[in-house]
């Protein structure tokens, strides 16, 4: 492109093209191209008559060529020629002549005839300027010869012109005229060719402009197409994302429905489990309760039978009129009646407790005597286990704090917690007894205590204790150490919920494996 513009004389364009070429050569690390480009930049500056810049570039090109080994010397001839022209333009004729001569020598060595012809012409021209017509003629002739050998019309023309001019200087009219004629003929024909070339080039340029325009149009079209396609693609992507989101939403909704029904199933199962756990513990107690009821009922029956007998005796004594005997019988009747009433009430309270236990919790808090509740469930638990396991026995020690006033609790719920703790305590001492036997005395200690703004119930047993490794699992639902089928694993889990969530209290445990377990229920007053 640079050469093309150079040929049409558009040196600014040529210059900028070559400068771009330098950068390009740099980027692809092509030294040959770079040297060529720098050389041509120098040439272009020369044509623009910017001599210092031209000199700078040309010297750089020459130094680069000499620094490179092999293959680049062919540029030397041209570079030196340009250098000569630069010096000539600057009026430094000696340096100019040296550069031309060096260029000629290199061109001769390398047999580059076009360069040689041109430089010979230039040197001849220089000698013509510095008024050395002989030298000028000598080089002009050599140039003409070389140009003719290589068939270089432009250089032949230049040689004719130089010869004509020099002969004109020497006032050699014949020779001048002869060469001028030759020059004119050749120049005309050359100009014609050049003009045709230029026209062709201009056409090329126009075509190229058209092509560029078309290309730009195509580019714009392509861009529009790309933009449209991108928008379409974006739309499709959004649509897909939308579909995916919609699908996810549907899935989520379905999953939610499934989860909701699963949750409600779970909740009803939980309610059933709690109820069955309650019934299971009630079942365990049934025999104990029966025993508990049977004893007072035996007393009621026996004492009422005795009273019937005593009343018959009383009738007899009354007939006899024996006042001492009558008094004695009456006081016995009174005592027995008190016992009937006492044991009747005892049976009643057991039934009441049992009903309370089996009834679903009303969830209502009511003022409750902690000591009575604790005692009642301790007995229920004890007799329950005793009824279940004939060999079972344990000593119960109670220490109730009678300074505790009635507190607001849900009695059924706290009763279940107590029952659970007592059952566990008795179970533990019984298990230990099976292993140890002999001197071991199974004991369960139950105490109540009034604390600052709180009430504490302690349930301690001297059983097996709880191993450290399972201590953090005891409140987990379904965790049980009992053999399969014996424990629901819900006892402590439910107890924990009842005390902490239901009553805002605390359920704490202290234990030493093989020695004891102590559960503390702490309830706010």
């Amino acid at each position: 492109m640079g050469n093309l513009y150079g040929a049409t004389g558009n040196n600014y364009k040529k210059l900028s093209e070559y400068l771009v070429a330098i950068e390009f050569a740099d980027s692809v690390r092509n030294d040959e191209l770079k040297i060529s480009a720098i050389m041509n930049v120098g040439n272009a500056y020369l044509k623009l008559n910017k001599l210092d810049s031209a000199l700078l570039f040309e010297q750089k090109a020459i130094s680069m060529i000499s620094n490179r080994a092999g293959g680049y010397e062919r540029y030397d001839g041209f570079a030196l020629q340009v250098l000569g022209r630069i010096y000539q333009a600057k009026g430094d004729f000696e340096l100019s002549r040296d550069a031309y001569q060096k260029s000629i020598r290199i061109c001769q060595e390398q047999n580059t005839l076009p360069g040689l012809a041109r430089t010979l012409n230039l040197l001849g021209g220089l000698y013509q300027i510095i008024k050395k017509p002989d030298s000028s003629l000598h080089y002009a002739r050599e140039a003409l010869e070389t140009a003719r050998t290589a068939g270089l019309s432009v250089e032949i023309k230049n040689a004719y012109k130089l010869l004509a001019d020099t002969y004109s200087d020497q006032k050699n009219k014949d020779s001048t005229l002869a060469y001028l004629k030759l020059y004119t003929v050749l120049n005309d024909s050359l100009n014609k060719v050049e003009k045709e070339n230029l026209l062709a080039y201009q056409n090329i340029g126009f075509d190229e402009q058209l092509r560029v325009k078309k290309l730009e149009e195509e580019k714009i079209q392509t861009q529009t197409k790309i933009r449209t396609n991108a928008m379409l693609a974006g739309l499709v992507v959004f649509l897909i994302i939308g579909l995916i989101l919609y699908r996810n939403y549907r899935h989520k909704q379905q999953a939610n429905n499934v989860l909701e029904s699963a949750l409600s199933n779970l909740k009803s199962t939980q309610t059933q489990l709690i109820q069955s756990e309650k019934m299971a513990s009630l079942g365990e107690l049934t025999a104990g309760i029966a025993h508990e009821i049977q004893n007072p009922l035996n007393f009621v029956n026996n004492f009422s039978e005795i009273n019937t007998e005593l009343l018959d005796e009383l009738k007899g004594e009354a007939a006899k009129g024996n006042p001492d005997e009558i008094n004695s019988i009456v006081s016995a009747l009174k005592d027995n009646n008190q016992k009937i009433a006492f044991h009747g009430k005892r049976a009643e309270s057991i039934v009441k407790g049992m009903l309370q236990h089996s009834r679903s919790s009303t969830g209502k808090k009511e003022l409750t005597d902690i000591n009575t509740l604790t005692d009642e469930f301790l007995r229920l638990s004890y007799h329950g286990l005793r009824a279940k396991d004939k060999s079972f026995n344990a000593t119960m020690e109670t220490n109730f704090d009678y300074n505790i006033n009635k507190i607001q609790i849900i009695p059924q719920d706290v009763g279940r917690v107590l029952l659970n703790l007592f059952n566990n305590a008795f179970y533990s001492v019984n298990e230990k007894k099976k292993i140890v036997n002999g001197l071991y005395e199974p004991k369960v200690f139950v105490s109540t205590e009034k604390l600052d703004g709180k009430v504490q119930i302690r349930v301690k047993d001297n059983g097996n204790g709880i191993p450290q490794k399972i201590l953090d699992k005891i409140y987990h639902p379904f965790f049980t150490t009992k053999p399969t089928g014996e424990g629901t694993g819900l006892g402590l889990s439910l107890s924990y919920d009842i005390i902490t969530k239901g009553h805002g209290g605390e359920l704490k445990v202290e234990t030493k494996e093989g020695e004891y377990a102590l559960f503390k229920i702490i309830l706010p007053v």
Binding site: N298, F299, N301, N302, I306, K390
Partner: protein, 142 residues
């Protein structure tokens, strides 16, 4: 068989002297009940009752009053020492003459019965106590 043996045993005793019976039960009102049920026998000097509310108390009494009680009526299910443990101890410690021990329990199951018999119980009664039957067995009807 057993009843016959008991019958003959008690008949001999009652003919010669007053019968001293030790009742062991953790229910305190058992004392009142026995005293009322046997008030005529007691009044007539046919029998005398001693009460203990635990196995330990019963053993203490037996140690202190050697061979005074000729008949022991014991509950099985009691806190602390059970009636069966008491039975075992009595039969081991008091060999000659061996006191008659009758077991009373609310849990009249086979296991308890077999265990009691194995340990040498002379009879096995279930609650509620049939006092007419008991008196019949003791042959001390008023």
């Amino acid at each position: 068989m057993l009843c016959l043996r008991l019958f003959s045993l008690y008949s001999i005793k009652t003919k010669t002297q007053l019968m001293k019976i030790l009742v062991v039960d953790d229910e305190k009102d058992m004392q009142a009940l026995f005293e009322q049920r046997f008030r005529k026998e007691i009044r007539d000097g046919k029998t005398q009752f001693v009460f203990a509310t635990s196995g330990e108390e019963a053993l203490n009494y037996l140690h202190q009053h050697n061979h005074e009680a000729v008949l022991i009526l014991s509950d099985i299910n009691m806190p602390g020492m059970t009636g069966l443990q008491l039975l075992e101890k009595i039969k081991l410690e008091h060999k000659a003459p061996p006191p008659v021990v009758m077991m009373i329990t609310a849990y009249g199951d086979e296991e308890n019965y077999n265990r009691a018999m194995q340990l040498g119980a002379d009879d096995f009664l279930t609650k509620p106590l049939d006092f007419i039957l008991l008196k019949d067995k003791l042959n001390i009807t008023a």
